[in-house]
């Protein structure tokens, strides 16, 4: 049986080999998930390292979210590979001139760091459960204690020190991981749409706003599900964080686009034809107007008016949803958009996303939902809200 290949329609002059679209929606999902990891970790760090007390209710949720999404980060890549069984070759025999070769190391390091930090953060809870519970779950918690049942003040203070340093290390690790994803595109000179020094930074800031937005939505949703009052101060803290970073993200993306247009290198006519044609809706309308400017203006208004209570929660949640959508569109416009502009600079291609199949829309949606399902499961084993955080325990100890 001949393999199935799907050639895409095109306009103008494109190289014959370009008519098969090589990087599908899954490659857009990959940086999206990585970005959510980095963004969620930012929230955790803002509390653990920088002492943003307002974010305390979401600090552990941020850590768990980051871990759940990180575990699923390699899946779109594995599904995309022609030989997934050889994936470890990149780690076993890395080719160091490749930006992609370091992924295995970056990702593994970061997963280990996240697991360690989560373990330290939950250690008092694990010990408590190990002593309280019986049966299979009891054994599970007892295994997780790794034989350490010491929750004395001294031990907790020691844990706290570890958490602080892991969180500090995690900041460059998480942001480096995502900045590197941007570098993977920005360093390619074959496509004018990708080839930009600003790409890693743009990816980074969009990652931060997406992760913080995800936490805002998750926090509000979790409070609703658990039928507990929402901590408005926390929501406001998240709103401020999104607001601050969205300004930088928007400016950077604007600068990037201005750079391409102003430099006006070979192929810019095709880029202009593309952004004012097929990309007009996904880029200017969905990514910028609806996904970024609308929430930015709404957040600005709420901060200016000092909105609080239910109106603030609703405003921030909707803004966060829009930002999440905007950042996905940004990934789409980079990955898919970049390939829709031919390398010849004289033609455009039109990607058609399939619903089914290994690299279709359903798999992409499933990959975005899977970390949330895992989070739901993990949050039952390690509730990020029932038990006080290590930090809160230390504070409580100090107050005694």
């Amino acid at each position: 049986m001949e393999p199935v290949i799907h050639a895409v329609p095109y306009l103008g002059w494109v190289y014959p080999n370009e008519t098969i679209f090589e990087w599908s929606v899954l490659i857009a999902v990959y940086p999206y998930l990585t970005g959510l990891v980095a963004g969620a970790f930012t929230v955790s760090s803002l509390y653990q390292v920088f002492g943003f007390q307002r974010l305390k209710p979401v600090a552990h949720l941020a850590l768990l979210t980051s871990l759940c999404f990180m575990i699923f980060v390699p899946t779109p890549l594995l599904l995309h590979l022609g030989h997934p069984e050889r994936a470890f070759n990149a780690t076993l025999t890395p080719h160091w001139t490749s930006a992609m070769a370091a992924f295995g190391y970056f990702a593994s390091f970061y997963v280990v760091l996240l697991i360690l930090e989560t373990w330290f953060a939950y250690r008092p809870f694990i010990v408590e459960q190990a002593q309280k519970r019986t049966g299979l779950l009891g054994t599970f918690y007892r295994l997780l204690t790794l034989g350490s049942y010491d929750v004395s003040d001294k031990a907790i203070a020691y844990d706290q020190k570890w958490i602080l340093w892991l969180a500090i290390t995690g900041i460059p690790a998480a942001h480096g991981l995502h900045g590197y994803v941007g570098f993977m595109y920005g360093s390619l000179k074959s496509r004018e749409w990708w080839s930009s020094d600003l790409m890693p930074v743009i990816f980074l800031f969009s990652a931060i706003i997406s992760g913080v937005s995800l936490l805002a939505v998750l926090y509000v949703a979790s409070c609703k599900l658990r039928r507990i009052p929402i901590d408005v101060a926390c929501v406001k803290g998240l709103a401020y964080t999104i607001w601050a970073f969205i300004m930088v993200a928007l400016t950077l993306e604007g600068l990037e686009f201005a750079n391409i247009v102003y430099k006006g290198r070979e192929g810019v006519e095709m880029i202009m034809q593309y952004v004012t044609g097929p990309l007009l809706v996904p880029y200017f309308i969905l990514q910028f107007a609806v996904g970024a400017f609308a929430p930015f203006l709404w957040l600005s208004y709420m901060i200016w008016r000092g909105t609080t209570g239910r109106a603030l929660v609703i405003g921030v949640t909707i803004s966060a949803c829009l930002v999440l959508f905007s950042v996905f569109m940004m990934r789409w416009n980079v990955v898919i958009g970049g390939q829709e502009i031919s390398k010849t600079g004289k033609g455009l291609l039109f990607y058609h996303m399939f619903v089914g199949g290994k690299e279709g829309a359903l798999v992409a949606i499933a990959l975005c939902i899977a970390p949330l399902v895992m989070l739901l499961g993990l949050s039952r084993l390690f509730p990020p809200w029932v038990h006080g955080t290590v930090s809160s325990r230390v504070v409580a100890l100090g107050e005694q």
Binding site: E2, P3, V4, I5, A7, W13, V14, Y15, P16, N17, E18, T19, I20, E22, W23, L77, H80, L81, G82, H83, P84, R86, A87, N89, A90, L92, T93, P94, H95, T97, S98, A99, M100, A101, F103, M184, L188, K189, S190, R191, E266, Q339, K343, T344, G345, K346
Partner: protein, 286 residues
């Protein structure tokens, strides 16, 4: 007693099997880590499975890749767009028989009277496929026969086997590499199929072979040139538009081609330093 003998024999056999497995594992492991000395026969002869059409006689015995520096020339003024090169390449290298994946292709540039933009197409264009009647056969439709063309020419294209290849730079596992004789190859047994190299090539020379799950591209028919033969496309070109040879030999066709013509390369601004040299191309060709 008989039972005991059988048992002993079985033990001995298993012991030998274990030893063999250990030795094989060690050799594979050392090889995989790149620990084999560079002067060994394995390292000296060209790498194995880069050639799909190579057969069992590849790698070529006694071929020393340190003694050659291959290069390719294209004289666009000679090309007649017959596409025999494309056909030969597809057959020789087992390239998927469709209109979307090519190791080599030919571009047609036509400037019509009264138009300020060049018209470009290749054999994969829908009108050309319609003319050939099949996605497995290639010819240029005579679509401009009633138009007044001011200028028209064909440009054969293929992998540029760059001195600084971006595809090699980005390959995360080193499955694609530049040989000592200046050819960029792909180890199909090691390629993970990530397609980063396909994206990185500024010339659109690479494609992804769905059936094999690996990237593929022109190898200058490495299995042929190491035997002293010409690449298939050069061999079949009826007008000598494609030139190939060893630049270390001052009198080789390619050395003469480069020396006797004002040659240029595609997209020199990339810094890739291509090794396919063109004569007779226009500003629109990239």
């Amino acid at each position: 007693m008989k039972e005991k003998t059988t048992l002993d024999a079985r033990r001995a056999f298993l012991g030998k099997l274990g030893l063999a497995a250990t030795c094989t594992g060690a050799v594979v492991g050392i090889g995989a880590l790149g620990a084999l000395p560079s002067g060994t026969a394995a390292a000296k002869s060209a790498p194995g499975n880069a050639e799909s059409g190579a057969g069992s006689s590849f790698p070529t015995p006694d071929y020393d890749w340190t003694k050659h520096e291959w290069a390719f020339g294209v004289d666009a003024t000679k090309c007649i767009g017959c596409l025999r090169c494309v056909e030969a390449c597809k057959r020789e290298n087992d390239v998927p028989r469709n209109a979307h994946q090519f190791r080599t292709w030919v571009e047609r540039y036509v400037y019509l009277e009264g138009e300020d933009k060049v018209r470009i197409d290749s054999q994969n264009d829908a009108a050309n496929i319609e003319a050939s009647g099949s996605e497995k056969e290639y010819r240029f439709a005579n679509r401009y026969k009633d138009a007044k063309a001011e200028k028209a020419f064909f440009v054969p294209k293929l992998c540029n086997h760059c001195t600084h290849p971006t595809c090699v730079q980005v390959c995360p596992v080193g499955a694609t590499y530049r040989t000592k004789d200046g050819v960029v190859l792909i180890d199909h047994d090691y390629c993970i199929g990530c397609r980063y190299c396909v994206q990185a090539c500024p010339y659109g020379a690479r494609f992804f072979d769905e059936e094999k799950g690996v990237s593929d591209k022109c190898t200058w028919c490495y299995h042929r040139i190491t035997k002293g033969l010409q690449p298939a496309c050069v061999e079949v070109c009826p007008v000598g538009a494609r030139v190939f040879g060893d630049t270390r030999d001052r009198q080789s066709p390619i050395s003469l081609f480069i020396r006797n013509n004002r040659v240029q390369v595609l997209r020199p601004e990339t810094g890739n330093a291509p090794n396919v040299f063109y004569v007779g191309i226009d500003k629109e060709v990239n």
